[in-house]
C-alpha cells in the first residue's frame, strides 16, 4: 500500500471506467441492492402494517422474529449458494434477508406511533380499507419510513459487498475481492470509493425527499 499515490488511484479509476468494468460492476451491484431492498419493502411493509395494528399478533410473532433478526445475514451465505448458486439470486436473497426484518419492525413501530386521533378523525370522515391505508396511515408513517429507508439502504450496502465477495461473479464487492487477489490496491480503493459515492448519493436523494412538505412535518416540529 505504501507508495500508492492519488494519481495511481485516479489512473485506476480511468482504466476501470473506460474498460466498462466499473460501469458493469456498478450496474450489477445496484441491481442486486435495489432488487433486495424492493423485495424487503414489498414483503416487510404489509407485514409491518399488520403487526403494527394487532397487539396480540405482535406478542406472538415478535420473539421469533427477533431471534431471526439477530442472526447475521452473512450466516445465510452457504444456504444462499446451495439454493441459488452464484450470481444475482443469492446476493439479492442475502440483501433481502438482511433488510426485511429491520424494515418490518420499523413499519410496525411507525404504525404503533401514529397518534390515535388521526384514526378517529379518519373514522369520522368515513375513511376505510385502502383509502384509510393510502390517505391516512401511509402519509402518517412516511416521515418515519423515509428515515428507515436511509438506514436500511446503508444496511443493504453493508450486506451486499461481502455477499458479492462470496457469492457473486461481478459487482463492486466481487471487484474488491478480485483486486485484492490481483494485488491491485488502486482498483480496490477505486471500488471502495465507488461504493461510498453511490451510498452517499442515495442518502442525499432520500434527505432531499425528506424536505418535501408532505413529510417534512415529521422532522420539524
Amino acid at each position: 500500500m505504501s507508495g500508492l499515490s492519488v494519481v495511481e488511484i485516479f489512473q485506476g479509476l480511468i482504466t476501470e471506467a473506460t474498460s466498462g468494468r466499473l460501469g458493469a460492476d456498478v450496474y450489477a451491484s445496484l441491481f442486486r441492492l435495489l432488487a433486495g431492498l424492493f423485495l424487503a419493502i414489498i414483503i416487510g411493509t404489509p407485514a409491518g402494517l399488520w403487526l403494527g395494528h394487532h397487539v396480540r399478533l405482535r406478542k406472538l410473532l415478535v420473539p421469533p422474529l427477533n431471534f431471526l433478526r439477530s442472526i447475521s445475514p452473512l450466516a445465510w451465505i452457504p444456504f444462499a449458494v446451495v439454493w441459488f448458486g452464484v450470481g444475482d439470486p443469492p446476493v439479492v436473497f442475502l440483501v433481502f434477508v438482511g433488510c426485511v426484518l429491520p424494515w418490518l419492525f420499523a413499519t410496525a413501530h411507525a404504525v404503533q406511533s401514529v397518534p390515535e386521533v388521526y384514526f378517529r378523525v379518519a373514522r369520522d370522515h368515513n375513511f376505510q380499507g385502502w383509502e384509510l391505508l393510502s390517505r391516512i396511515t401511509f402519509p402518517a408513517i412516511a416521515p418515519s419510513l423515509l428515515q428507515t429507508a436511509r438506514l436500511v439502504a446503508t444496511l443493504g450496502w453493508i450486506i451486499l459487498v461481502p455477499a458479492e465477495m462470496l457469492a457473486g461473479r461481478e459487482g463492486l464487492g466481487f471487484a474488491i475481492m478480485d483486486a485484492r487477489n490481483g494485488m491491485r490496491i488502486d482498483l480496490l480503493i477505486v471500488n471502495i470509493l465507488a461504493i461510498g459515492a453511490l451510498a452517499h448519493g442515495a442518502d442525499t436523494l432520500l434527505q432531499r425527499l425528506a424536505l418535501r412538505p408532505e413529510v417534512r412535518w415529521g422532522h420539524e416540529r
Partner: protein, 224 residues
C-alpha cells in the same frame, strides 16, 4: 330510540374491571348546546368517545345522529395536508352545495389567509379554528367538542371561544362539549351536566338559559 339525537339510557362503561361510568341517562335536544363538566380523569372524554362510537359501552343504550363531527383537544389536523385540504375533508359525505359554505366559513373564522399553509406553520389557536372549519363545513347535525380550548393559552382561548360563539350564532347546531372549565361551560351551554364520583354519574343537570356565570362557584363546590 330515534337515531337523530344523542341519547343514552343507563349507560355503563369500564376499563377492564374498573367501572368508570355508571347509569348515565340523558337526551340532548336538537340545536341544544350541552356542556359535560367534571374533574380531570372523571371519564368525560371517555363519554364523548362512547357518544362518537369509538368505544362500546358495557351496557345500556346509546344513539347518535348520523352526521356529526368532532373537534379534538389537540393534533386533530393531518400535518401532511394543507389547511384547505384538511378543511375539505369535512365535505366528504356532505351535501354537494356545502362546497359554497367553505369560503364564508373560513372568513368567519379568520383563516382565509392560511389556506395553503400546513398545520405546523399555524399557531395553536389557528389550528383549533381550522378544526372548527373542518367540523362545520359539511353542515353536520351535531358537533362534539373534546376540551377544544384546553391546550390554548388564556388570551387565545378567549379569542377562539369568541370565534366559536360567532360561528354557532350563524349556524345553530346541536353541540356537546366536554370541559373541566366551568366558566367556559356556562358561557356556551344551554344545559350543563355535572359528572362526578367514582364511577362517574351525572350528579346534577343545570339549565342555563341566561348563561349565568354566577353559577360557577356552586358548580365548583359541588365538583370538589
Amino acid at each position: 330510540m330515534s337515531a337523530n339525537k344523542f341519547k343514552a339510557k343507563d349507560l355503563r362503561f369500564s376499563y377492564g374491571k374498573n367501572l368508570v361510568l355508571d347509569g348515565l341517562t340523558f337526551e340532548f335536544q336538537d340545536g341544544e348546546f350541552v356542556a359535560i363538566v367534571g374533574a380531570s380523569g372523571c371519564g368525560k372524554s371517555t363519554l364523548l368517545q362512547i357518544l362518537a362510537g369509538d368505544r362500546q359501552s358495557l351496557s345500556g343504550d346509546v344513539s347518535r345522529p348520523q352526521r356529526f363531527r368532532r373537534v379534538h383537544q389537540t393534533d386533530g389536523l393531518y400535518p401532511w395536508l394543507t389547511v384547505e385540504q384538511n378543511i375539505r375533508l369535512g365535505l366528504r359525505g356532505a351535501p354537494a352545495d356545502c362546497e359554497a359554505d367553505l369560503l364564508p366559513l373560513v372568513k368567519t373564522l379568520g383563516i382565509e389567509g392560511h389556506l395553503q399553509h400546513f398545520p405546523r406553520e399555524l399557531s395553536g389557536g389557528l389550528r383549533q379554528r381550522v378544526e372548527l372549519a373542518r367540523a362545520l363545513v359539511g353542515r353536520p347535525e351535531a358537533l362534539l367538542l373534546d376540551e377544544p380550548f384546553s391546550s390554548l393559552d388564556y388570551l387565545t382561548r378567549l379569542e377562539t371561544r369568541d370565534y366559536l360563539a360567532q360561528v354557532l350564532k350563524q349556524r345553530p347546531i346541536t353541540v356537546v362539549m366536554v370541559t373541566h372549565d366551568i366558566p367556559e361551560a356556562l358561557f356556551f351551554a344551554d344545559r350543563v351536566l355535572l359528572l362526578a364520583g367514582r364511577p362517574a354519574q351525572i350528579k346534577r343537570t343545570i339549565t342555563n338559559p341566561t348563561r349565568d356565570a354566577s353559577l360557577a362557584e356552586s358548580i365548583w363546590k359541588e365538583l370538589r
